[in-house]
């Protein structure tokens, strides 16, 4: 790797305000939302259009220098962590919505567009962009594409990959390819589907065509308190078995409820477990489904039930849920969040085992999860100032990941493998599968330049450092879920 000739070449393209090389300038890019990892890149470049992105990638390839594309840096898996002596391509200025076609119900956007901005732009047409990661007010579509981001409403409408119709991408050597198109249907292998979630290893999305949906006419949200997590889990089973298809089904445990109280004054009932179920759609259908849902919930012997009939009441229920993560920060100096998935029917087993692990490690774990699709979010609390505390928390996190794999699930439902979980991918897939992924990666990127060291175990491991919550998280702008 020869950084200096590359730096000279970049300096010819970018002015000093868009080529950052001084340590003080680079500091902001050293971590993403997984602050336990830090790495200083050789430089950060800030392109203004797709041609500059393509040219930068070509230069990196020419000089055999690895690069990471970065949006808002909200990855929870260290996915946008810089590579030592590599280049960070900051895509925030590629933030144009190039086209919003209300009749065709699509939006063509650049990668630096903020997730929520798409829905805001679509709103006057009665449309919205469905995937709603909790960081949606700051995370970018490019990052959502790279990590196939989810959100609380995945159960019914799926994740990012279910809403990307087409893309123009720069492959890791700068060659440009068009994948998919504007139709809901395609011909040939589903290349947009394969590119989404590839964690930056296949290159950089330059333009993304998104599907927009009509805004649901109405929402009905119910909050039910239970005397145990098990009872809340049984209620989920009953709802699922009934044939209802809610937009979201969420569960919080006692510690998470406590955090929501401390952090957001959510006014939740004090109980060992809370269940949130939300129906969405046209008014007539939702009314009928809601009657059925309430009857089902009554039969599961809840301690208390609250219904949201207005937008305000709905917002109040979600406020505590959405704030639970950052609020956990009030209970302990720091925490790690995992996002393993288990089969829905094994949720009870998984939670019991997490409880047992928590006790045996003497580490508190709060649980908030997307119960509808078995996606756990255990929050492992620790104090980073204690010698070895981070390492022990990571060890516990690793055991939870292995538990998810053992129960037939996945190590990640929506955060991606990134830096953090790459040692665990081979526990989910065998050597043949890992080799196939390596082969495809090598064929797409013969020099392993694009986001080197993420997802696939390769290169030397970065060391963990404790640095506390991300500044944006402290400010309550982003949430770890």
């Amino acid at each position: 790797m020869s950084v200096h000739p590359l730096m000279q070449a970049l300096a010819r393209k970018y002015g000093a305000d868009r080529l950052l090389t001084r340590p003080a300038q680079l500091m902001a890019y050293e971590s993403d939302a997984l602050t336990a990892f830090q790495q200083r890149p050789a430089a950060v470049v800030i392109p203004q259009d797709r041609e500059e992105v393509i040219e930068t990638i070509r230069l990196c390839h020419e000089h055999e220098t690895p690069f990471v594309a970065r949006g808002s840096g909200t990855s929870l898996s260290g996915g946008s962590l810089p590579i030592a002596d590599g280049i960070v391509i900051a895509l925030n200025r590629l933030d144009r919505i190039l086209r919003l076609d209300a009749a065709e119900r699509i939006a063509v956007v650049e990668p630096g567009v903020i997730n929520l901005k798409v829905s805001e732009a679509a709103k006057p047409h009665g449309l919205y962009y469905a995937p709603d990661p909790s960081s949606q007010s700051i995370c970018t579509i490019g990052g959502n594409v790279a990590f196939n981001s989810g959100g609380a409403h995945c159960l019914k409408y799926g994740m990012t990959s279910n809403h990307v119709l087409g893309m123009t991408v720069a492959l890791p050597d700068g060659e440009v390819a068009t994948l998919g198109g504007e139709s809901l249907e395609g011909v040939g292998p589903d290349l947009p589907g394969f590119f989404v979630g590839s964690e930056g290893l296949f290159g950089v999305a330059l333009e993304i065509t998104l599907r927009l949906l009509p805004i649901p006419e109405t929402y009905r949200t119910v909050l039910a308190a239970y005397d145990s997590l098990h009872a809340a889990g049984d209620a989920v089973t009953a709802v699922v078995a009934s044939g209802l298809l809610p937009g979201a089904i969420e569960i919080m445990d006692a510690l998470a409820i406590k955090a929501a109280e401390v952090g957001a004054k959510a006014g939740y009932p004090k109980a060992p477990a809370l269940l949130i179920v939300e129906l969405e759609g046209e008014a007539g259908a939702v009314e009928a489904e809601f009657a059925q849902l309430m009857q089902l919930i009554e039969e599961t012997a809840p301690l208390e039930v609250r219904m949201a009939q207005t937008a305000d009441e709905r917002a109040r229920i979600w406020k505590g849920r959405k704030a639970a993560f950052s609020a956990v920060g009030r209970l302990a100096p720091d925490y790690i969040v995992q996002d393993g998935v288990v089969p829905r029917s094994r949720l009870g087993d998984a939670l019991a085992e997490i409880d047992r692990l928590s006790a045996s490690y003497g580490i508190e774990v709060a649980n908030v999860f997307h119960a509808g699709d078995g996606n756990l979010h255990p929050l492992i609390l620790f104090d980073g100032r204690e010698e070895g505390a981070l390492e022990r928390a990571e060890e516990l996190a690793g055991e939870i990941l292995e538990l998810c794999v053992d129960l037939g699930g996945s190590i990640t439902g929506e955060h991606g493998v990134g830096m953090e979980k790459r040692a665990y991918l081979p526990k989910m897939y065998g050597p043949v599968e890992m080799q196939a992924m390596e082969d495809v990666r090598h064929s797409v990127d013969s020099l392993s330049l694009a986001n080197r060291g993420k997802m696939l175990p390769a290169g030397e491991a970065e060391s963990l450092t404790h640095v506390g919550p991300h500044p944006l998280e402290k400010a309550g702008v982003i949430f770890r879920e």
């Binding site: 009749a103 119900r105 047409h125 009665g126 196939n148 989810g150 019914k156 409408y157 799926g158 994740m159 990959s161 991408v169 492959l171 060659e175 390819a177 994948l179 809901l184 249907e185 395609g186 040939g188 292998p189 589903d190 290349l191 394969f194 979630g197 009509p214 699922v240 044939g243 298809l245 046209e282 007539g284 259908a285 009928a288 998935v341 288990v342 089969p343 829905r344 029917s345 699709d373 078995g374 037939g408 699930g409 996945s410 190590i411 990640t412 439902g413 929506e414 991606g416 493998v417 979980k421 989910m428 897939y429 043949v432 599968e433 196939a436 992924m437 082969d439 495809v440 064929s443 797409v444």
Partner: protein, 387 residues
């Protein structure tokens, strides 16, 4: 081929491989692949491996028929919401995925790409590889299941598939409306698809005079009547001079969509091609296909998909007066800037596929640098007819 190891041995020993499932899409399974091609018949590789109704998932071998799966799911009040087509002709799960086929119901919750969550496939080296998983939400590793949707057997041999399923709505209703002019139909279409009504399917086709539109809604029976009324009102606002509206319920309604799944509208002896597009491209497509006889057609997925019936001979009746220049479907699609796949019928001559010059891919080329690189990794010797 009844076992995976037989498939692996066959792949290792063969120079070129072609795959056949139920044979319901002969233009794919009988395509010409060059001399010395080994045909793998997967109809014997069948059976449900696992079904977890409470998880909304099942796993089955690739040769399992769509009909068998539909019956199994129906027993638990569940279904594959994307309405996999051609089940009556023996379509298999593997063939449905490889052909990338979704039917009318794709409009509501997504297509085969959105419901396939895990696969096993044999690659060009004869190794069986697992991709995706068996849980409904999974972001770990490369998404091989999506890659294999529409791969036409040219990246590897699918051996086992895991799908997500959904509960089947307890009841459906369909509103049928007639329009005199295409522009009226498209206005009605836009009014319906832009509304907040949750639509399960939106199909339309040329009728005796003008156009006929079918809009399907589903859900709890008590609310359905009122919702169908609201839907009719929205449609009638956009209806042109003909304006005939009709409501279908129960078996009569079910039959409408069963006929869509079986392509009952397709005349005997006609070929069938599948052409993705967007509603905005329909006027141009109609300009071309509306004049071309005897082409029959049906638009599906809210105007995102055109099913095109085509004479098996491949030549259009209309030749622009130049006998030596048959206006093939491939050329027409090129002119429109669209792509298509021939599914049934020997198909028109086409530059879409290598060697034989006659094959399932029509119109704009699909190949690009990304696909070429993936193909080179999974099938380095080009046994499956490299992309």
């Amino acid at each position: 081929m009844n076992t995976v190891s037989e498939i692996q041995d066959a792949v290792k020993g063969a120079k070129r491989i072609r795959v056949r499932g139920g044979g319901s899409k002969p233009a794919l399974s009988q395509r010409w692949c060059g001399d010395g091609t080994h045909l793998l018949d997967l109809a014997g590789l069948q059976g449900i491996v696992d079904y977890q109704p409470e998880e909304y998932t099942f796993t089955a071998r690739a040769g399992t028929t769509v009909a068998e799966v539909a019956a199994m799911l129906d027993g638990k009040g569940q279904y594959l919401p994307f309405d996999p087509p051609l089940a009556d002709r023996g379509a298999t799960l593997g063939g449905t995925v490889a052909a990338g086929l979704s039917g009318s119901g794709r409009y509501r919750y997504g297509g085969v790409r959105d419901f396939l969550i895990g696969i096993r496939f044999v690659d060009g080296r004869g190794q069986e590889i697992r991709g995706g998983g068996t849980v409904v939400k999974n972001a770990a590793g490369f998404d091989f299941p999506k890659l294999f949707v529409g791969s036409l057997g040219r990246l590897g041999v699918l051996t086992e598939l895991t799908f997500k399923v959904f509960p089947r709505p307890p009841a459906f209703a369909t509103v049928e409306a007639e329009f005199e002019a295409l522009s009226d139909l498209l206005a009605g279409l836009n009014a319906v698809t832009g509304s907040a009504i949750d639509l399960h399917a939106v199909d339309f086709a040329p009728a005796e005079a003008g156009w006929r539109l079918w809009v399907r809604i589903g859900g709890l029976a008590p609310a359905l009547e009122e919702r169908a009324g609201a839907l009719q009102e929205i449609i009638s606002r956009g209806v042109g001079r003909t304006g005939l509206l009709r409501l279908y319920r129960d078996q009569e309604e079910e039959r409408l969509w069963q006929e869509a799944r079986t392509m009952a509208w397709l005349a005997e002896g006609m070929g069938l091609a599948r052409v993705p597009l967007t509603p905005g491209r329909i006027p141009a497509a109609e300009d071309m296909f509306g004049r071309a006889q005897p082409a029959s057609r049906r638009y599906s997925v809210g105007g995102n998909l055109l099913w095109l019936g085509w004479p098996e001979s491949g030549d259009l009746g209309e030749t622009d007066g130049k006998q030596d220049d048959p206006r093939t479907l491939h050329r027409l699609l090129m002119e429109l800037g669209l792509r298509g796949v021939q599914l049934i019928g020997r198909g028109p001559r086409s530059e879409g596929l290598s060697e034989g010059g006659e094959g399932p891919l029509l119109g704009e080329p699909v190949q690009n640098a990304f696909l070429r690189r993936i193909s080179a990794a999974l099938d380095p010797e080009g046994k499956f007819g490299a992309w």
